[in-house]
């Protein structure tokens, strides 16, 4: 008897999880009247700044660390370089809303699936302007929905200090990956985490000032 109760509970829990994760991502938030039509991300937008971060990448239990460098090289394009702590260049990309160019990549990392994943991640990380269609809220944040092709981005702005806290990239039913930001001044993000929900990939960036 007891055993079947536990089983029943387990199945119920499982169903609950499936149902919640199958519903629209915005289902958990309260709709609100849209208070603006566009949002401009403050981070990574200054062409004079070298954005340099110590980086840890964890992919299916493997750890990789190095230095992540991003620089806005013209109105539309960022250059992105990932090096080891020694300075050897592992990847070198140029990325804009519509273009993507691999300047160089070491053969060990030259895998289409990896490059495409990073392209998606970095494109969202560096995206400057979002057109907004809907608005929601939860206890701590105003949440804006912005269409992105067949998918959506949910932009979370904290109610307390109006800082960009996270961006959730999702399909109609499922969250794909999330960008978390920590920023002191709302101009510059000191800590960024890119966490994938459908694959075991986590990228953490910690800003460092070179002396």
């Amino acid at each position: 008897m007891q055993k079947s109760t536990i089983q029943f509970l387990l199945i119920n829990c499982f169903l609950a999880i499936v149902l919640v994760s199958c519903g629209s991502v915005s289902k958990n938030y309260k709709p609100k009247k849209l208070d603006k039509t566009s949002y401009t991300v403050p981070y990574f937008s200054d062409s004079k700044t070298d954005y340099v971060y110590k980086t840890n990448i964890s992919v299916y239990g493997n750890e990789l660390s190095g230095i992540f460098i991003a620089k806005k090289i013209n109105d539309t394009t960022h250059r992105i370089v990932f090096t080891t702590e020694f300075g050897n260049k592992l990847m070198d990309f140029e990325i804009s809303e519509n273009d993507f160019k691999v300047n160089s990549i070491v053969s060990e990392l030259d895998r289409k699936i990896l490059i495409n994943t990073l392209k998606e991640d970095f494109r969202l990380l560096l995206k400057k302007e979002y057109q907004l269609q809907e608005q929601f809220e939860n206890e701590s944040a105003d949440i804006y929905k912005s269409a992105d092709g067949k998918r959506d981005n949910y932009i979370f702005i904290s109610k307390k200090d109006h800082k960009l806290e996270k961006i959730v990239h999702s399909s109609q039913t499922k969250e794909k990956f999330t960008l978390f930001f920590n920023s002191e001044n709302n101009i510059f993000a000191e800590n960024i985490q890119i966490i994938h929900q459908n694959i075991k990939l986590k990228i953490e960036l910690n800003y460092f000032k070179s002396e």
């Binding site: 070298d50 230095i67 250059r79 370089v81 300075g87 053969s107």
Partner: protein, 209 residues
Amino acid sequence: MQTKIYLFFFLIIGLSLSAQEQKMTDAEIASFKQDVNVVAKKIKTLTTDFVQYKHLDFLSKDIETSGKMIFKEPALLQWQYKKPYNYSITFKNGKILINDEGKKSAVDIGNSKIFARINKLIVGSVSGNMFDDKEFTISYFKLKGLNLAKFVPKDATLKKYIKQIELTFDKEEATVVQVKLLESSEDYTRIVLKNKVINAKIDDSVFTN
């Protein structure tokens, strides 16, 4: 008149450039190599502070990191980055041991020929003993108080990672004061070594993560 002034300036610039970096004669090369080899042979252990400048042509400033390097014969090597983050990398018995802000990991490089090569190269460049004509095309220059050797890898695989290595030597001490690893003509890593201590006692247990 104007053209003459320009010409004059070009001449001055040309002169000062050639004064900076002058090709060594064969005799100078032989004596320089001998000096370095004598010193390198005496090196059983070496510790030195270093400052690393990563130069990428599109950045407004070089990325600067610094720390301490420890070497013990024949091939124990550790780089400790202390600023602006704590990160150490140890080369030991075909393994790379990493400590990244307390997070430890190990990579087996026993089978990786390219890593073994790079390791040998780093050890060689720190001790200064890498005048291997089979591996590199080497050219020699002299500067004020300094000697400069430029190494171009002959191996195509190695060349993909490193286009050229430049070692700068103190003329008096015949030891390396700067290592420059060029990835391309625009991008390079420059490592300045200072406060060198030779043959202090170093325990093997230092070389861990």
